[in-house]
Amino acid sequence: MFESLSLLALQQYWWIIVSLLASLLVFLFFVQGGQTMIYSLGKTDMEKKMIVNSLGRKWEFTFTTLVTFGGAFFASFPLFYSTSFGGAYWVWMLILFAFIIQAVAYEYRTKPNNFLGTKTYEVFLIINGAVGTILVGTAVGTFFSGSEFSVNKLNLTNIFGSGSTTISAWEGPAHGLEAALNIQNLSLGLAIFFLARILGILYLKSDIDNENIVARAKKHLLYNTVPFLVFFLTFVGILLTQDGFAVIPQAGVDPLLWKVEMEPYKYLHNFLAMPAVLILFLLGVVAVLWGIIGTLIGKCHKGIWMAGLGTVLTIFSVLLIAGFNNTAYYPSTFEINHSLTIMNSSSSKFTLTAMSYVSLMIPFVLAYIIYAWRAINNKKITSEEMDSETHTY
């Protein structure tokens, strides 16, 4: 079935899968956003406990999605893996540290004799929530603003001279940290951060049966929506007006050798060239706002699902804009022709085909996740449950 697809079709299919995983990841960042709200929404120990336990039953979905996103990106676009991870070393290391400390925080938070104390584990959750979301957003921002790297496969043969044998090299000294100095990257990072907080608030409101938390949730929803809109609109404004990295197809030439050039309004052109993606984007933005506004005016009790769906659609369409329509999704500002495209950075046709069969498992995975999610969430969290349940965080 997948064998009959062309290499380009398989590359596009995998860009769609990777984009879908990334957009699901951002939706699941509601756990991270919620973690930064523990002290804002919870004032008593019981309230905090309810919040931590509500999020604690979902944190592994986010974590696993991140790991799977990494694996899928590696399998489908290995040159991105080697170039970005090996080059923007410090950004990825900081992101990973933020997730390492999260993984133990829930389980160890209230266990007796836990060495670091409850407060420390709560701080771990807050660091994860803030650093994780902002840096992931910032890193994704470089898909549009570019990074200073070079790729030269001939380096592998450097056995006689003094040059490095490493193919991908970061040409700036900050190893990825410089991305945080770019207004576009930072806007996206902060937009993701505030979006995660909004999603966190909406999720907690839907999952916890406690009047105080619900009342505070509404207030904080408004407080977070304002900065979210400011940063999101800044990012979109820059995106639609900036020059973009366009791949120039050459008939009869191996796509590995195609050139990349700057094109004015490239990402706006991409939206216009792919109206379906534009519609997804607009639907996504409307759904996020609907989820927020509906909750604020009290008409919507499950705003998390509307805003969550909107998040997935928005992020998904933005990533399609980055990689489709002959666009370099990981541009190099050091040497524009070293930019990564879905054509020059992907796995072989054989591997993409084999992996495509594996991707048929995704609907089954989604089905059992929905089953488990419903089984756990069929009743809202109450203080009585927290007192009687034998396994709590």
């Binding site: 592994e60 696993t64 694996g71 590696f74 070393y89 133990v104 160890y108 044998t165 090299a169 488990a372």
Partner: protein, 527 residues
Amino acid sequence: MENFDMTLIDWSRGQFALTAMFHWIFVPLTLGLAFIIAIMESIYVKTGEEKWKKITKFWAKLFGINFAIGVATGIILEFEFGTNWSNYSWFVGDIFGAPLAIEGIMAFFLESTFIAIMFFGWNKVSKKAHLTSTWLVAIGANLSALWILVANAWMQDPVGMLFNPDTARNEMVDFWAILFSPTAINKFLHTIFSGYVLASIFVVGISSWFLLKKRDTLFAKKSLLVASVFGIVSSIFLIWTGDESARQIAKVQPMKFAAMEAMWDGKTNAPLVAIGFLEQPAPPHQDKGYKEKEFAFKIEIPNMLSYMAFLDANAFIPGIKDLVNGYTDQESGKVIPSYFDKIKLGREAITTLKNYKEAVNAGDETTAAIYRAKFEDKEWMANTFRYFGFGYYNNENFSGLIPSVPISFYSFHLMVALGGHFLALFIVMLIFSLKNKLHKMKWLLYVGIWTIPLVYIAQQSGWVLAELGRQPWVIQDLMPTLSAVSKIDATSVQITFWLFAATFTTLLIAEIKIMLTQIKKGISGGH
């Protein structure tokens, strides 16, 4: 060589070893304890006896504490292939990335989805749905082991791929050859059974402590019974798969095999060193740059090594010197080139790639076609290109091609000796358990407790043997650590090394303190 930053390479290796070994403290227990818990819960569902539910929950609590830190230490490993070994990620990412992705899609989600039901679902789903979830957690954990070990085995025994000079990387051509390579199957089975043995020792040891303290004795006896039986069955499979693994190593990694027996000179009817101590190094071998170590003391089993490797007591086993200087395989009559010749062949392969790429870049199609033909010539690929990785070496850094003999030797023998001890302990424990005399055998219970640290040492030894014994190869004969590393400054890696060391040590202390507190609370100690 000036183009290799050895400080960077050493710290990158150190960081990977540090993070992998920390992760490996927790994974084996997850692999085995998940099944032990599933068996216990199955007994609960079948008998309906509440005490089995309590027993299940007690061990599940310890499982959860261990699982969290296993997850924390695991995430970094996946990404380190990119952050620290970026050339590796490109050179073989076409093959290596796939099992990592499949691991996420097929195994991690299964594990992490149903673990939520396992912990929070006692009052939310039916008994049977809960039991199914517990089994799915165990299956998910072991499936993830399958895929990561398939990936690891492929690095040691690269099969099912072809080099593509246009992309300058190896590409997958046979998925099933990779999944079902004998190295992969043996590595997977040997590793998961080692996890089952570790988990069984963990349960036996903790149950022994309760029996010594005369607390929760009924619970302890039942747990100990389940664990000893599980431990005996697992140990038998462990020994069997270990034996198969040794045969596989002799075939595909003869240098590792020679190093783990500290065998410098090859011989027919080669004996197996049962116990041995290496003396201080002799002076460096003049022109070869390596240091030969002889035995100060050893007890040997005649013919055993030849039999172990080739199921033939007369078989010739090449020693380290044979592998370095070249030899003629007695059975096939094939001449195995010396390392010096392999270096020359490797350099030829690398130079051919360079010439091809330069011709393509210059648009010189005629020259490019000449070089391209070599990559399509099966004989050239099988006799020259296969030594690609040797080309990064020369007479100066030559000794880097030989793994540390003492580390390989001691880690192998320690692992094997401890494996024997575990099987003996399970059998003795089971016998006295069935006779209901265990609580009177204080010495045995103490042995049970003190075997817990030993089983962790055995686990780490196995890992050290597998990973240090294959040095310098990231991919056997094709890519050494030298050319696999990312281009970053050594200082950055030093900083992250110490950050990991400090973070993981802190978390390990927290984990042990929490675990001990929960154990002391006992089965009836509440939450």
